[in-house]
């Protein structure tokens, strides 16, 4: 103990995975090394898993260990397709924003395996409470991209009637809860949804989503304590993409403990998973959803991944992010890893890959043209200004009717 004056610890904002200290914070494990407990395990028996990393694919893209073998080749090809389609969608929507056809866009580049690998573990009637970076949940279930595009363009076919910021989708039919914009609020709502399913004696499961940065919000902690008390059927996902706009995960508390470890303070079982490994994602998601469906309660999963793109189209990472952050990232790209794995299994080829990418680009391009045919934020038709007075309440009160008239409708 030093006798000098106190000093404030301010975390190093910049991770660099090339440096041993920073890489050790990732708590990497070898592929296939981490055990797969029975789904009815108690939290106390798997505390070590909060400081390990479940990985199936090794550096040579071969599958290993107890979490492998959960997917057929067909399922893997569908997963690859969903990830590629998500990427093609993101590229096209970013381009539309650059062309000023809409105001804003957010990509999930580098994180596609998480939502695309998670969604197949769910079934109809389940509900995701997503953030703005889980478009893969919709795309993996073949939700029409044109519907998403119309929302991004705020045009006349936007089911949200031009009210919401681009990417703040809502798709009840796809088990996709309306996106808020205020971070973390959805996390505790997912717990409430899951509690309702249990209260009514039904079988549906909720999936809560949050970024590691937003775990600092009160609602994250409220969600964990409610989940701990009532043990509802909810999967508590934390997507640790290392960055929250300009601040590294250390500013969210990642320097002192893993995000998975937080669950243990509440007695909730936790897994920590390589989020860039489609096979690991699918296996861990299925494990947690099975626990939930069997009335065994909540599971927290920290998905370790890397935000490869800017935070949003309003962001310029060159101001805060060193180029090595990208190059030294040790867990690779989820699309490349699954592609190489499938090729290794004899179920895929470079040529088929190129062809699929071209097909998807074409599909997205056709949909994008069709969507623009219904208008964009700046051109063509959009929802009437009169509609902004709808849905504030179920029945429009007199003062809103009066204001709508004042606007000329």
């Amino acid at each position: 103990m030093s006798g000098g004056p106190l000093t404030l610890h301010v975390p190093e904002p910049q991770p660099c995975f090339g440096k041993a200290a920073d890489s050790s914070r990732l708590h990497l494990s070898e592929a296939g090394q981490v055990r797969r407990p029975a789904v009815d395990v108690e939290a106390a028996e798997i505390r070590d898993l909060a400081y390990a990393l479940i990985r199936v694919l090794d550096d040579g893209a071969r599958a290993a260990g107890p979490w492998s073998g959960a997917c057929t080749i067909e399922q893997l090809r569908a997963g690859l397709r969903a990830m590629l389609k998500t990427r093609a969608y993101d590229t096209r929507m970013t381009m539309l924003q650059r062309q000023r056809k809409t105001s804003f866009y957010m990509q999930c580049t580098g994180e596609e395996a998480i939502s695309c690998g998670f969604q197949p573990a769910l079934q109809s009637g389940d509900m995701n409470f997503p953030t703005y970076r889980q478009q893969g949940l919709l795309i993996a279930q073949d939700w029409p991209v044109i519907d998403m595009m119309c929302q991004v363009l705020s045009n006349e076919k936007d089911r949200m009637k031009g009210r919401q910021l681009p990417v703040f989708y809502s798709a009840r039919g796809a088990g996709f809860f309306s996106i808020s914009g205020n971070l973390a609020t959805q996390y505790v709502q997912a717990v409430g949804w899951a509690m309702a399913s249990a209260m009514r004696g039904e079988r549906s499961v909720a999936a809560a989503w949050i970024g590691e940065g937003a775990t600092a919000e009160n609602d994250f902690h409220a969600a964990l304590v409610f989940a701990s008390v009532y043990r509802p059927p909810v999967v508590l996902n934390v997507v640790n993409n290392q960055w929250a706009i300009s601040t590294a995960q250390s500013v969210a508390g990642g320097e002192s403990a893993t995000f998975a470890a937080r669950a243990h303070g509440y007695g909730i079982p936790a897994l920590r998973v390589d989020g860039n490994d489609y096979l690991a994602v699918h296996a861990a998601a299925s494990w947690a959803v099975e626990r939930a469906r069997k009335n065994l309660g909540p599971t927290l999963i920290e998905w370790v991944t890397h935000r490869a793109a800017p935070h949003s189209t309003s962001d310029d990472p060159s101001k805060y992010r060193a180029p090595e952050d990208q190059t030294a990232w040790p867990l690779g790209d989820p699309v490349d890893r699954l592609k190489d794995h499938l090729i290794g299994l004899g179920g895929w080829s470079e040529a088929r890959h190129v062809q699929l990418k071209a097909e998807l680009d074409e599909e997205i391009s056709v949909a994008s043209k069709a969507a623009q045919g219904y208008g964009t934020l700046v051109e063509g038709s959009k929802c009437s200004p009169a509609s902004m007075f709808d849905d504030v309440y179920k029945l429009m009160p007199p003062h809103l009717r009066e204001q709508r008239q004042e606007l000329g409708f």
Partner: protein, 337 residues
Amino acid sequence: MPSLTMIEAIRDAMDVMMARDERVVTFGQDVGRFGGVFRCTDGLQRKYGSSRCFDTPISESGIVGVAVGMGAYGLRPVAEIQFADYMYPAYDQLVSEAARLRFRSAGEFSAPIVVRMPCGGGIFGAQTHSQSPEALFTHVAGLKTVIPSNPHDAKGLLIAAIEDDDPVMFLEPKRIYNGPFDGHHDRPIVPWSKHELSETPEGYYTVPIGKAVVRRQGSDVSILAYGTMVHVVEAACQSVGVDAEIIDLRSLVPLDVDTIVRSVTKTGRCLIVHEATRTSGFGAELSALIQERCFYHLEAPVVRVTGWDTPYPHAQEWDYFPSPDRVGRALTRLMGS
């Protein structure tokens, strides 16, 4: 005098105060290394070190809560909330704690904090990047609330806020960060360098909290506005050709009642303009006050032009934003009655 943008003026105020007073510290989401998503704290960490300007976790209640603790200790924290729309998780710390600490401890403890937040629309930010929550602060006993409309006032008011011994909510209309905006969204953007109120004295000066300013003398009607709406009102008066007296309130609590009463007593007419929703908005308070103090001088009912009582929409932004046209029509009606 150098011409500054609103962002530069706000940064300059913090710079001046951090240099003068070691107790002044600033923090918030993306505030430290990056310098804030709107760049208001750019360079302060490099200049004053990371224990006086730093990034925080994404927890608004945490940000305001630690500010209260630091303020009670004796520091002068300037906390940034990234968007006013994200203030709500901090609301309990503001309303139940910062606002009442002095009262409940009979002066033993206090919270001399400033909470800065960008507010208002006009940037296609939709419901979560456009709100004007000033009335949620003015309704709370113990909080002061200020909103500058130009770089000169922004710097002077922020310095006054940092020196103030009570908690001050400092609202920054983000649409005028980089240039004055009169509501004509289809016209070219005007930079602050073209506006005389971007001329900002170097170093230390204050604009007193609680003092409004008459932006334009006039005899037909008094217009009360603040923030972006001051510019919208100026444009509307020009196009309608009314000899209006335009009062930029700058400080909502405490309010410069004398300046308002003097003007309305003289003109006999009053228009109130704000971007926030109408019902229980700050305009309602102003209107009641004028009724109480100027009733026998009024020649027409007080009129309000405000945002509609709906969440802020994305695609219909310009149908929501109180336009110079809407203000102009209200003026014409008011002059005719």
